[in-house]
């Protein structure tokens, strides 16, 4: 994992740090825990002992003390807690808690059943000139000194403010609750309204609830409701089942609903598919899944999988019914694709024959499974290992509309097919597992992130997604545009074209990449990565143009180590060695653990027109560092080091190192490199002259 960068630079997080976050995220999505099953904490304020629990002025700073009472409080559930709101829910004069959790149960009402003899008073404030909820108002309850304790002569002042939103994602009751200790006497109640105006209220007694209206000066008692619900709670048989269990056990809630073993998900928006290839039963070569001629269910199965076979049998038995809806089924076997090769494709074939399977069938390819996994990662927060049976339901346009993990229920499938024709709004409504109302249409899938996900292994799919994204962007041109939106649109398009260039480069389509990069630069001249990428493409054919674009890239983002490196290497080829060295050194300082810039740096010094001992020694240092940083003592780094030793007048070291480089190059079957090393090795043996510098 990677260290956090110490500075923000130009806003791009260094790739390995971001990759670290993403790696963590992926593990979490696979179901790993992270600081999980932690028990809630409760700290009891024990500062009041020496004063009988009350009746002192403020503490001296530093005298505040708490005791950890988490376990005895009964609140130490191992839930993933999030929200926590305080309210006297049952009206019995003490504070209860509502908790919102990430884990089950998502909510808990924890009733305070402490049998303390301490008294309380509750105040609800109402603004007339101030905001009516009196948010920000502060009530002060002043208690008479208790003769039995050593409190300060002034008695004590308890202060509470009304908040609307605090802690994390929570809003507590607007009733101000004051615990008063034992046998309290309220001397005065003052409200400081928002803005600072103070008003004293008469008529507040311990044990009561009062409404205090701004400007009236008199508290109005609010009668407690009848019957007091805590009695009902104490005797209610329903409550017993959720009473905290025996200590030592996590207090589990009542049994959650039985999970339906098939996870069927209607997507709220349609998702374009990558190109899917399969092997037809009767042909050798792969064939693309044909879409766009009516809805299609792609079903993945294996002959060893019991529910798969049941599903195929049901498809066969109800073939007419299914065909009548216009649905096509493509059943793709994964036999032979699992690690242990439990079964062979021939087993799948035998099963299909036995079933007289009436729909097209074939074999899935490893790439197809990989693409389906990538799709699942895009669609779900929880990434599950691929399992069969699994199905994808495509709409008439060939876009993904629903996924099924587990056996498809044909009746359910028939219903889902009907919803394919629904409007966008109704489709979104149908996608929610529980009824409710959406306020706005959901955005479609993020095609750019789909492209990013697929781009690593499948640049042709990345290209497809990026071209779709560009089409959609172009379609939005018709909408009225503010200058701000024009700017953002052009930024987006430039970014997409840069990604597209990278995707086509991976497919060795250099000319197309150059076109896309030039258009990106036309749109956003200060897109540094576009300059750097274009420069890399042009490096061998048009070195001067490449140098110009590299220069622009590092002008825009001096912290772009790759661009600095590329510029250095290109300058070196052009013979501008001092300049080259400067940019390579910058690249090196930006990414100290990266061996790439060190190698040309060493070679420049080795082949320097004015060689001297200092340059040679420096070359050795660079090359040694490159070897140390390179993976498995890479032959290129070793070759460089050998040459540096030779230049530094250490022929024995040079020969030994070159030999190691040679072995390593041969082990990697890198014949070109091996030949180069071989010729240099001969020279080290024959003389102490400087070697020819390779490019």
């Amino acid at each position: 994992m990677s260290r956090s960068p110490q500075a923000l630079g130009t806003g791009r997080s260094p790739a390995d740090y971001v990759a670290g976050w993403q790696a963590t995220l992926r593990l979490l999505r696979q179901g790993k825990s992270w600081s999980g099953t932690e028990r809630n904490c409760v700290f009891l304020n024990i500062s009041g002992l020496n004063t009988g629990g009350l009746n002192t002025g403020g503490l001296n700073t530093g005298d505040l003390r708490f005791a950890d009472v988490s376990a005895v409080s009964g609140l130490d559930f191992p839930d993933d807690g999030r929200g926590l709101a305080v309210v006297d829910w049952d009206g019995d004069g003490d504070l209860d808690l509502w908790l919102a959790n990430r884990t089950a149960p998502r909510l808990r009402l924890m009733l305070n059943q402490g049998e303390s003899k301490n008294s309380f008073v509750a105040l609800r404030l109402r603004g007339t000139r101030s905001n009516r909820d009196a948010i920000g108002a502060r009530a002060e309850v002043e208690l008479a000194p208790d003769p039995h304790t050593m409190g300060s002569a002034l008695g004590s002042r308890l202060v509470r403010t009304i908040y609307a939103g605090d802690a994390f994602l929570s809003q507590s009751s607007k009733w101000l609750h004051f615990g008063l200790g034992t046998a309290p006497v309220i001397k005065r109640v003052t409200v400081r309204w928002p803005g600072g105006k103070r008003e004293t209220f008469a008529g507040v007694r311990p044990g009561g609830r009062y409404l205090l209206v701004e400007g009236t000066g008199a508290a109005v008692a609010v009668t407690a409701r009848e019957p007091r619900p805590q009695r009902a709670l104490a005797s209610a048989p329903q409550a017993s089942s959720v009473e905290p269990g025996e200590p030592g056990e996590p207090e589990a809630p009542a049994v959650p609903p039985a999970p339906d073993t098939t996870e069927r998900v209607l997507l709220p928006v349609r998702v374009p598919l990558p190109r899917l290839l399969y092997k037809p039963l009767d042909a050798v070569g792969p064939r693309a899944v044909e879409t766009g001629s009516g809805p299609l269910l792609i079903n993945l199965w294996a002959s060893w999988c019991v529910p798969c076979v049941a599903e195929l049998r049901e498809f066969s038995e109800r073939a007419e019914e299914l065909r009548a809806t216009g649905l096509g089924i493509l059943a793709l076997s994964v036999d032979g694709l699992d690690r242990d090769q439990i079964t062979k494709p021939a087993d799948a074939n035998r099963l299909l024959e036995e079933l007289e399977f009436p729909f097209p069938a074939g074999y899935a390819t490893p790439e197809l499974l990989e693409k389906i996994e990538l799709l699942q990662e895009t669609l779900f927060e929880r990434s599950l290992p691929f399992a069969v049976p699994a199905s994808l339901l495509l709409d008439g346009a060939g876009e993904l509309a629903a996924t099924y993990r587990g056996r498809t229920d044909v009746d359910r499938l028939l219903l889902d097919l009907k919803s394919l024709g629904e409007s966008r709004v109704r489709l979104q409504a149908a996608s929610a597992p529980l009824p409710g109302r959406w306020i706005a249409p959901l955005p479609g899938p993020d095609l750019e992130s789909l492209a990013k996900r697929f781009g690593v292994r499948f640049p042709e799919d990345a290209e497809r997604y990026l071209r779709l994204a560009l089409d959609r962007l172009a379609a939005r041109n018709a909408e009225p545009m503010t200058p701000e939106r024009v700017r953002r649109r052009s930024e987006q398009e430039a970014g997409l074209r840069l990604s597209l260039a990278n995707a086509v480069l991976k497919q060795d389509r250099r000319e197309e990449a150059i076109v896309q990069l030039r258009r990106a630069i036309d749109l956003e001249e200060d897109l540094g990565r576009a300059h750097a990428t274009l420069a890399a493409v042009l490096r061998s054919s048009e070195p001067e143009a490449a140098i110009d674009h590299y220069r622009r890239a590092v002008e825009i983002d001096p912290a772009d180590a790759e661009a600095q490196h590329g510029l250095g290497v290109t300058l070196r080829t052009a013979g501008r060695l001092d300049e080259a060295l400067r940019h390579l050194a910058i690249a090196q300082s930006l990414r100290p653990d990266w061996p790439a810039p060190l190698i040309p740096m060493a070679w420049i010094l080795i082949g320097h027109p004015e060689p001297n001992a200092q340059r040679a020694a420096e070359a050795v240092r660079f090359a040694e560092r490159a070897v140390a940083l390179s993976e498995d003592r890479h032959p290129v780094a070793l070759d460089t080091l050998a040459a540096a030793y030779a230049a530094a007048g250490r022929p024995t070291d040079a020969i030994a190192t070159a030999r190691e480089a040679l072995d390593s190059a041969r082990a990697r079957s890198d014949d070109v490199l091996a030949a180069g090393i071989q010729s240099r090795l001969l020279r080290y043996r024959s003389s102490s002259s400087a070697p020819t510098v390779p490019n």
């Binding site: 110490q6 500075a7 790696a23 995220l25 992926r26 979490l28 179901g31 825990s33 992270w34 999980g36 099953t37 932690e38 904490c41 409760v42 403020g58 700073t61 708490f66 005791a67 009472v69 005895v72 409080s73 609140l75 807690g81 999030r82 929200g83 049952d90 908790l99 990430r102 089950a104 998502r106 009402l109 402490g114 905001n131 009516r132 308890l158 908040y163 939103g165 605090d166 994390f168 994602l169 929570s170 809003q171 009751s173 034992t182 928002p194 709670l233 089942s241 905290p244 025996e246 030592g248 009542a254 959650p256 529910p307 049941a310 690690r339 439990i342 669609l379 587990g406 529980l434 306020i439």
Partner: protein, 637 residues
């Protein structure tokens, strides 16, 4: 020794260990053995029961995710002390079993745990306990050994400590010491204990860990708990043999008892159980939905959804509004006189399906009823109450912030209506929850927060820039709370940020300045919650901040090798893992950090952390809701 050399030679890998626990990750993917029992040798002749469970397919030699898992296995990382900590965890597990066993601890069980020369201080110095708190319900007794508790743990070991209590030797000694600890938990039939190593330091011939130990028990009329910190000295593991305890020294001991079985009772089912939503939406956790709702609907792994209390129908009883994930409706529960609540979100027209993080019930138009504000990732929803608890949604405000978290309302400009502050996390929806904060301990590249001024008629205007709140406000904010900290009559604002410094914005006539640094409340840590209160009763409002406590982070970040490798950032990074923060308002414009002195730092991976006087004695207590991600895979990151 091997461990020590390795740890100091290589560059550190800060992030993953600082944040994470230590348990090793097993390889991902399906378990092949699970298949074999259900796998037929040929295809099945008949189908019998409707078996629908999908069968995992194990592919390839090693998936990329398996390789990824190896990378974050602490044992493959450079902090070899994490491997040591892991090996002691297994021993601590045995110790836990001994503490929990009501059968007197058996000497044989203790013997594999300890070296021959084992020596322990008395772990429950009953003669030296002071009663520091007592009322009709509670008793708190405490012992402190002032001499050893603060220093670096490698330097002073148990053998050097000046214990006034008699030592216990060998296995019988350990059994004795544990038996005495059990006496601290009278009455209860079941003891529950937890031990966690939170600091580690290596020496040539041994290594030491600081261990947090807690145990509790409950009976009908009594509930007790003790909390301790032990300094444990271990032999190095050798030849597959686990580390053995050389010595235990007591650093901190506290005993609590309450004359009741428990203080809080779970009344969720009584209150909500009659609603269909209880079974459908309260009982299943977020994990249930992650494979059943597409991310495209706005469901997220992190489960950041809150709640709001308010009386929506004016009947004098408090009601509850609950925010939920995309695809799951938000819920309004209206309280009945018997304390139960009825779910009415559809008829109240607030059953929104958009992923909602936070909501407030407040009177936005000063007409005497509670209106509803809710925030989805990018929309602020304002719904007007007709007085009976039915709501009309006004035109949503779009793009107020990106990936919104908490809401906090106050009348910042004193014009008699409520304005709304909205916290934004990162700017890009794609990484909601886990971002790319740069630098980790002081990130300022998140999404911007916004202050929305109430212009009447449910019209709000973004005044963030005009009021100066645009300073320092792209810091991955999780929470905000308004309070008049300087007692000048207007509302100031504290904002808790996930990666580094927090903000304290002082209000002067409607303009805000971030005075967090000069007030001493920057609190470089992972801020997730903020609440105000006056627990010391001096009339100046204090701050409690929910942060992350990481035992692994503590173990790593306090080691010399880590400090050497990270230089100036080390103390900031140590703070990142310290836990919750309590700032006492000194009334002079500045605050003092009393988190550790007051004993309220260890709130674990804390979310909502707040004041509440739970025992009505007039002194505000603290409650912390915590835990990050408990998933079905038990290998904790």
């Amino acid at each position: 020794m091997v461990a020590r050399r390795a740890a100091s030679n290589r560059a550190p890998s800060i992030r993953i260990l600082l944040l994470s626990g230590t348990v090793l990750l097993s390889a991902c993917g399906a378990d092949p053995d699970r298949q074999s029992s259900t796998r037929p040798s040929a295809f099945p002749p008949s189908l019998g029961a409707a078996q629908t469970v999908p069968m995992p397919l194990r592919q390839g030699p090693r998936s990329p995710t398996e390789r990824l898992a190896e990378k974050v296995d602490p044992k493959n990382d450079i902090w070899d002390t994490e491997s040591l900590a892991e090996s002691t965890a297994l021993q601590l597990e045995i110790l836990r079993g001994l503490i929990e066993s009501r059968e007197s601890p058996v000497i044989e069980h203790a013997s594999g745990l300890i070296a021959d020369s084992f020596v322990s201080q008395t772990l429950r110095p009953v003669e030296e306990l002071d009663t520091v708190f007592a009322d009709d319900l509670w008793v708190v007794r405490r012992w402190t050994e002032p001499s050893t508790s603060a220093g670096p743990i490698g330097s002073a070991g148990p053998a050097e400590s000046t214990a006034s209590t008699p030592d216990h030797l060998g296995a019988p000694g350990l059994v004795d010491a544990l038996r005495q600890l059990q006496d601290g938990l009278p009455g209860g039939s079941d003891i529950r204990a937890a031990l966690k190593a939170y600091q580690i330091e290596t020496s040539d011939s041994f290594f030491s860990t600081r261990v947090l130990v807690q145990a509790s028990s409950r009976s009908a009329g009594n509930s007790s708990q003790w909390n301790a910190s032990w300094l444990c000295r271990w032999t190095y593991p050798d030849d597959g043999k686990p580390p053995q305890l050389l010595a235990i020294a007591l650093e901190r001991y506290e005993e609590v008892s309450v004359r009741q079985r428990t203080i809080f009772t779970d009344a969720t089912e009584y209150t909500l159980g009659r609603n269909a939503a209880y079974r459908q939406q309260v009982l299943p956790g977020i994990g249930h939905w992650l494979g059943r709702i597409s991310r495209l609907s706005g469901v997220s792994l992190f489960g950041h959804h809150g709640l709001a209390i308010g009386d929506v129908n004016g009947d004098g009883l408090e009601d509850l509004y609950v925010a939920d994930a995309g695809g799951l409706p938000n819920r309004l529960y209206v309280q009945n006189p018997d304390g139960t609540a009825t779910e009415v979100s559809a008829s109240a027209r607030v059953d929104w399906l958009e992923s909602t993080s936070s909501a407030l019930l407040i009177d936005l138009d000063n007409d005497g009823d509670q209106d509803l504000v809710a925030v989805t990732r990018r929309m602020l929803l304002l719904a007007e109450n007709d007085g009976s608890g039915r709501f009309t949604l006004h035109k949503p405000m779009r793009n107020v912030v990106a990936s919104a978290t908490s809401l906090a309302a106050a009348d910042y400009d004193g014009d008699g209506d409520l304005d709304i502050y909205v916290c934004g996390y990162d700017g890009e929806a794609e990484h909601q929850g886990l971002p790319g904060p740069v630098p980790y301990h002081d990130a300022n590249n998140g999404g911007a927060n916004a202050l929305l001024e109430n212009r009447g008629g449910f019209e709000f205007v973004d005044v963030t820039t005009r009021t100066g709140l645009d300073a320092n406000n792209t810091r991955y904010s999780f929470a905000a709370a308004w309070e008049d900290y300087d007692n000048d009559g207007d509302m100031d604002l504290y904002v808790a940020n996930d990666f580094g410094r927090n903000n304290l914005y002082r209000n002067s006539g409607g303009h805000f300045d971030d005075v967090a640094a000069e007030a001493g409340v920057e609190d470089v840590a992972s801020g997730m919650s903020v609440a105000w209160g006056d627990p010391d009763r001096n009339g100046w409002m204090d701050i409690y901040i929910g942060n992350m406590y990481s035992a692994a982070g503590n173990r790593v970040a306090y080691q010399r090798a880590f400090v050497d490798a990270t230089g100036n950032a080390a103390s900031d990074l140590q703070r990142m893992a310290r836990g919750n923060t309590f700032f006492a308002n000194e009334g002079t414009g500045s605050f003092r950090d009393l988190s550790e002195a007051a004993g309220v730092a260890m709130g674990r991976w804390a979310w909502s952390s707040r004041f509440a006087d739970l025992n009505n004695d007039g002194w505000q207590d603290l409650v912390v809701a915590n835990g990050y991600l408990s998933n079905d895979d038990t290998g904790d990151l």
